[in-house]
Amino acid sequence: MVVSSDAKELIQALIKAKKNLRIYPENNPVYVKTVDDIYARITGFLDYTDPLTLKFKQYEILFDGDVVYHNEEKEESLALFFFKDGVRELTFKKGIPRDEVEEFLRVLSVDFEREALDDDIVTLMWEKDFHYIQYVVDDAFLIDDETYEETAVSQIKGSSADTEGILKAYEDAIGTERAAKINVVPLTNDDLRSIIQEIENDPPDKTLNLIQVLFEMFFYAEGKAEYDELSQFMKSTLEYAIGRGNLETAVYTIRKIRSSIKEGLYDSNINIYLRGVEQFVNSARFINLLGEVLDNGVEFTNDLLYEFAVLLDKNAIPHLIYILGELKNISARRATINILSVVGKKDISLLARGLNDGRWYVVRNVIYILRQIGERNAIEHLTTAVRHPDKRVRKEAIRALGEMGSGDVLHILKGCLSDPDESVRITTVRAVGLIRTPLSKKILVDEIAEKSFREKSFNEKKEFFEVLSRWKDGDVIDLLVKILRRRAFFKRMKNDETRAAAAYCLGLMGVVNAMDHLIRLQGSNNRLLRENVRAAIKRIKDGKSRG
């Protein structure tokens, strides 16, 4: 025997489930346990009482004539939750599978307050198309005029048919009226196939079609208010499209706007509004949405990104830089960098403002983009970046200067050679090496000549020599040999390190003339020196035999 106390418990459990499913995701044990619990309760109930029917009043739920729930709190009343959308009765039938219970609970747990849905509880249940849950709804609240049917029907019937007309028709029919003609053409498998195909091919995203319609609508619009309205529709359509990962619609729209203006399709007053739409894709709003979808993992082809980027103008630059700093996803950042590398060209100094961004990675990316663009007028903006507090930024800036600059940046780079960070200095050495002027060579040679050079690590020293080795000039060789031969009484280990680096480079350059000096050192006590010397000797020999 099922008593109303069981029903009371079931309802309390439903209320708990309503909360739990809101909070916990599907794979959470609490979620699973909640569904299991309700499923067990309902099936247990149905073993004794089939079907199980709950009736709803405004603030009450009834089972078998008894009030099993009463709550007048608007926010939390389960009775009102169902009642306000017209639900009057809810019935569970025996055999209900767990899935259906779960689906029901999911509907129950929808937060109608927070989610701006166009669906009410009945629509959601309707869409689930339950097999074991039935509900009775009262649709009366949907219409304002409840007596409509009655009055309408009596009115239609009121204009009564007259017997005369019918009999006249009969007379005519027996006489002359035409015979029926239409033939029913039976449906064929081909018909079915082509309809199925049409349904399958129907694109889920129809924003582009709407944009086409809006372009047509401009021809029919009258006055500025309507132009404005249409342009707002266009913008919100683009917004909606990009929000769902569709960038094609924006590309199409901007291109179409430009060609329409060029061909003079529209009145010049309309063009003003169309330009507003064109500007919209450069706005923070649009770019932020683009950033969001990119970060959610939507990937666009490089071609599409490029097509889009060329349509942007400089106004988009600051917004793109902003999202660059916000994006979490690597491929999203890469996409943004690609866009900026195209649109950034339109205003280098605007792009360079990104160098003042507080986020070091943004600055580094902006430098990277400036490097990609490779325009010489970007150089002036980089001169301060080499003093950026973050070494990763300094390195990027130095690299960029090395790639883009000529002799005129050497004085900046020279300063970087005394950067406190070794990796920055190494980057600088390489950058200086990229600029192949006599001055760059001189800078390196001078640095080597400094007393402090000895204190540098082997790696750094090696970098100096390696870069220098590219010149293959006599004086470089002389310098290296000289270093190789240099003995020291103090700080011998540091000196040997320098000599080892020189030996390494001589080997790299294949300087045959240095052979004697190297051979003399191959028995050195210093392991680093010894090994580098031996490697150099081998290298020079091999090079010779090959050459």
Binding site: G95, S160, I182, N209
Partner: protein
């Protein structure tokens, strides 16, 4: 273990389809033919496990639909021809149910097949089948139940209510929009869902409602009619319930731009001037605008705006609004356009002014396929409303006159007719006859010989159909 009915439904349609394949091939080939053999084997492979699991396997034809063990079978479009065949053949034999009580062997099925095929030559095919199946213990048959008659009044009432609710709701929406008030899409959805439910249960009755034209409330009726007819087309081409609601909602709003047309023009009893036409032809533009203003872009509002704008544009891009660039029409625009043209032509308030009788409207539309309306959708439409749509005034070969009351989707030229004038030329308050009825010599009792224009004789359909 619980046997969930859901499984029965999922497999049910496949089993039923294979059952149809067996009957069709068996009807075509000799029983020992390879095609028949393999069809039977395939059927047994899928049917026997179900029979074993469920203990009994009932196939019931109730109204237009098959039920397997009391669960209605929803079938995909691919199966539609086989299912139509099955419905037709069951009806021809007055066969309502086939029941398998025990797992079947090849011989059982063959015996059934033979009985089934031969029964059609009998004057009482069902009784013939029943008698001959006595020797096949695993299979039983039951006679077709005339469910249509039972509670028919109640069903009509429900359908009527659903229809008039929709009209009233539409009127409310239009008035609210005119007054600049907000309208609730939630409610609109609910109204359309109710129509979808009604249509799925009582297709012909609901379509019948569209034949009633209320001239005073024409605009609202028209919206609802186009919605009903569009949902009906959508259902025929296999759209799911959710898609049907969307389509129905979009169709309901297709003429929403008309609320901007001054009432004096909209309800003008005489012909329009050129200037008035220009105003009327702006309603697709206004419609799209209204929808987009009502609701920011989302799946439904976008499509709704497309349909509002495109529903008077033809396949070849003629029509209005005149396009400046070629445009592919939305699939729903094509559906709505078929429904819209039909309803507009059979009503007196728009475009044609003089309403056409339903069958005339269809033949006019027939001429418009290819260039204006989608020929395949039109084919579906004709198959749905029949050659003689509800409301057609017909003369029968018995010299009786009647109104088409309900179409028979399987016998398009054999609807159910309400007799309003008897053989002797006397007006009667009609009984409804089924034109598929046969006499003892297996000949049809009644057939249509002519159609007439009910408007010409000012016959009020409402009196009979409501």
């Amino acid at each position: 273990m619980e046997k969930a009915g859901v499984n029965t439904e999922v497999d049910g349609k496949t089993i039923l389809n294979q059952f149809a394949v067996v009957l069709r091939t068996g009807n075509f080939y000799d029983a020992d033919n390879v095609a028949v053999k393999s069809a039977v084997e395939k059927f047994l492979n899928i049917a026997n496990p179900a029979i074993e699991a469920e203990g009994v396997f009932r196939i019931d034809l109730i109204g237009e639909y098959f039920y397997i063990n009391d669960t209605r079978v929803r079938y995909p479009l691919e199966y539609i021809l086989n299912f139509d065949y099955l419905v037709r053949e069951f009806r021809r034999r007055d066969l309502g149910s086939v029941i398998f009580d025990a797992p079947l062997g090849v011989d059982d099925v063959k015996a059934f097949l033979k009985t089934f095929i031969n029964s059609i030559y009998s004057n009482t095919p069902f009784e013939a089948m029943e008698a001959s199946l006595e020797e096949t213990p695993g299979i039983r048959v039951e006679k077709l139940k005339r469910v249509r008659e039972e509670g028919s009044l109640d069903r009509r009432k429900i359908v009527k209510k659903s229809y008039f609710n929709a009209v009233s709701f539409t009127k409310g929406i239009m008035n609210k929009l005119r007054a600049g008030e907000k309208v609730s899409l939630k409610k609109a959805k609910r109204v359309v869902e109710s129509m979808v439910d009604t249509l799925l249960a009582e297709e012909q009755l609901l379509i019948g409602m569209t034949a009633i034209k209320d001239y005073d409330e024409y605009t609202y009726h028209h919206c609802v009619n186009v919605s009903v007819l569009s949902i009906a087309i959508g259902q025929k081409i296999g759209l799911n319930r959710r898609a049907l609601t969307e389509l129905g909602l979009i169709a309901l709003f297709h003429d929403i731009g008309k609320m901007e047309i001054p009432k004096e023009i909209l309800n003008k009893p005489t012909a329009f001037t050129e200037e008035e036409w220009r105003v009327i032809m702006r309603h697709p533009y206004w419609g799209a605008r209204t929808i987009l203003k009502l609701k920011g872009p989302d799946k439904i509002s976008i499509r709704s705006a497309l349909v509002a704008f495109q529903h008077h544009i033809n396949r070849d891009n003629t029509g209005y609004p005149k396009l400046h660039e070629p445009m592919a029409l939305d699939f729903y625009s094509k559906i709505v356009s078929v429904a819209d043209q039909y309803d507009a032509m059979t009503s007196s308030r728009v475009y044609s002014r003089v309403p056409l009788p339903p069958d005339r409207a269809l033949s006019v539309m027939m001429e418009r396929t290819e260039s204006q309306i989608d020929p395949i959708l039109f084919k579906f439409f004709v198959n749905m409303v029949g050659v003689y749509p509800i409301g057609t005034l017909v003369l029968l070969d018995t010299r009786e006159m009647g109104l088409v009351y309900e179409c028979n989707p399987l016998f398009a030229d054999r609807p159910r007719v309400m007799i309003i004038v008897d053989k002797g030329g006397k007006k009667i308050k009609g009984s409804v006859v089924d034109l598929t009825e046969k006499d003892s010599t297996n000949r049809y009792t009644r057939s249509i010989v002519k159609t007439l224009d009910p408007n010409k004789y000012r016959i009020n359909l409402a009196e009979y159909l409501l």
